[in-house]
Amino acid sequence: MKSLVRLARDYTGRPSIITEVPRFARHAGGARVFLKREDLNHSGSHKINNVLGQALLTKRIGKKRVIAETGAGQHGVATATAAALMDLDCVIYMGEEDTERQALNVARMRLLGAEVIPVATGTRTLRDAINEAFRDWVANVDTTNYVFGTAAGPHPFPAMVRDFQRVISVESREQMLALGGLPDAVLACVGGGSNAIGSFDAYLDDADVRLIGCEAAGDGVETGRHAATLTGGRPGILHGSMSYILQDEEGQTQPSHSISAGLDYPGVGPEHTWLASIGRAEYWPVTDAEAMEAFRLLTRTEGILPAIESSHALAGAIRLGREPGSRGDAAGHAVWPRR
């Protein structure tokens, strides 16, 4: 734990700052909007928080090789970064389609010394990369640790990844209090749900703070071409946990669609299903078009280039700010732009 705290400070650069974005907020009904800047972490996203924890565990249990899946490539880059730092062999599985749309991150991983294996089966995206990583892990478990990238998958990943990402909300809660009070709402995008669960966790007991997860609605949930699992899915078992999944009536996983590789996953972490079922968190579908519009807005009004994943949460912020009856004061937004 001490090593992790030290690495978070001296390597990742934590705590990450909060940036208020007033010019952007004008498009959000005048609400105050704050960004928790996980994009400023070393390696460019929140993924490093989880990876450093799991890499330290890998060293502790004496394994020499790590594997990981990646969608957008951010988790792959973070894992390759930690592997270089801690002298571990590293193999990253990435859907072939994602290696094409996120080619820059493939190059970064290779520069960091990782082997990137494009996965050509199934939908050639994140879900298939996870399948292939599991197949590797089951064959090489003696030497290899699987550094899972999101708060889904088999036990203990959902809880472990949440605990490593919790730092986001622990920090942001304190920072918001110092800025004058708790936010009305916390928004985060939801792929598997690691940045979202990390952004929500410390606020769970703050009943007045709305927790809003923004799912990728692709072309629109009604078109069937989307990745909005909690909106358009139903309970099932995928990748070792029971949660909501996009599936047909027989239980076959359905392909997901999103402009954002990191959210293009037909499952979601089980804790989000739980939070939705007890009404503690809301999950909003955000289309490709809405996310791209929010991306453009933040870039042009604030000079911050967000990740397309995080842009889904920005779009949610715009929608929330414009809600009739919205109080229009402090809305704390956990948002992870990427450089």
Partner: protein
């Protein structure tokens, strides 16, 4: 006594292990897969595992992945697996289903068990369901006398071996190695050890699967296990229509389960 344990015990009395054959339903087509299952029975398989194809076959290697993807592209349904169970049972072998858990959950644990019984099946092998996560399935299966077959592996701890042995009926499926389905050059030393540890945990009947593809390997495994499970090798033979056509008529005449009588003659 279940049909599975009865069949294993008869084989044991004959001084041999049972031969268990796996085929995914719907590969290359539903009708051909049903015919192939009939051939397996005639060629001496005591038990046939019917695999409904699943979209995310995490524990399968390339051969079975390809078969499942092909079957799904052709629109194969879980109902086709129950048809296959019926074909196997009618042909005189014991039929079990090997299914990923979500297909069962989606149909409903109870309805899945009901449909299996109606089709004449005896049990279900659940590769991605652990006993501690399966109370609903176990309850549904017990009520209907459906055998629950769980997996043990080289990495399974003593405590979990016991859990697996206690929750399994019919037999325990011991994986010969850490890995996914597919042919291997040889069956490793780990296999005998897993069988021994599974028995120590209380399992009376243990069959070995993963990576057994030749008559020689089957004969080796039959020395220490109650059954030998062959999957990818059959699937591959089926995919390659030539091999299948050549071997099918010959298998029909081959002595029952010759391969598991330590006679390496099973090979096509």
């Amino acid at each position: 006594m279940s049909a599975i344990t009865a069949r294993i015990d008869v084989a044991k009395a004959e001084g041999r292990a049972v031969l268990v054959g796996y085929l995914p339903v719907g590969y290359p087509t539903v009708e051909t897969s049903l015919e192939a299952m009939r051939v397996l029975v005639e060629a001496g398989c005591d038990i046939v595992e019917v695999g409904p194809p699943y979209s995310d076959p995490l524990l399968d290697g390339p051969v079975i992945q390809h078969a499942a993807a092909t079957a799904l592209e052709h629109g194969v349904r879980v109902d086709d697996a129950f048809r296959a169970v019926n074909v196997v049972a009618e042909a005189g072998a014991v039929a079990v289903i090997m299914s990923y858990a979500n297909l069962m959950l989606s149909r409903g644990w109870e309805r899945f068990a009901d449909d299996l019984v109606a089709a004449g099946g005896a049990g279900v092998i659940t590769p991605d369901l652990t006993p501690d996560a399966a109370p609903e399935w176990i309850a549904a299966a017990r009520e209907r006398d459906v055998d629950t077959i769980f997996l043990s592996a080289p990495s399974t701890t003593r405590e979990r071996m016991k859990l697996t042995a206690d929750a399994s009926r019919g037999f325990v499926y011991a994986t010969s190695l850490m890995g996914v389905t597919g042919e291997r050059a040889s069956v490793g030393d780990a296999a005998a050890d897993v069988v021994r540890r599974t028995r120590e945990a209380g399992a009376e009947r243990v069959c070995v699967g993963l990576g057994v593809s030749t008559g020689v390997q089957a004969a080796q495994v039959a020395q220490y296990a109650d059954g030998v499970i062959v999957g990818s090798a059959f699937v591959k033979a089926l995919g390659d229509g030539e091999t299948w056509r050549r071997c099918a008529p010959r298998s029909r005449n081959s002595p029952r389960a010759s391969g598991v009588r330590r006679d390496p003659g099973l090979d096509p």
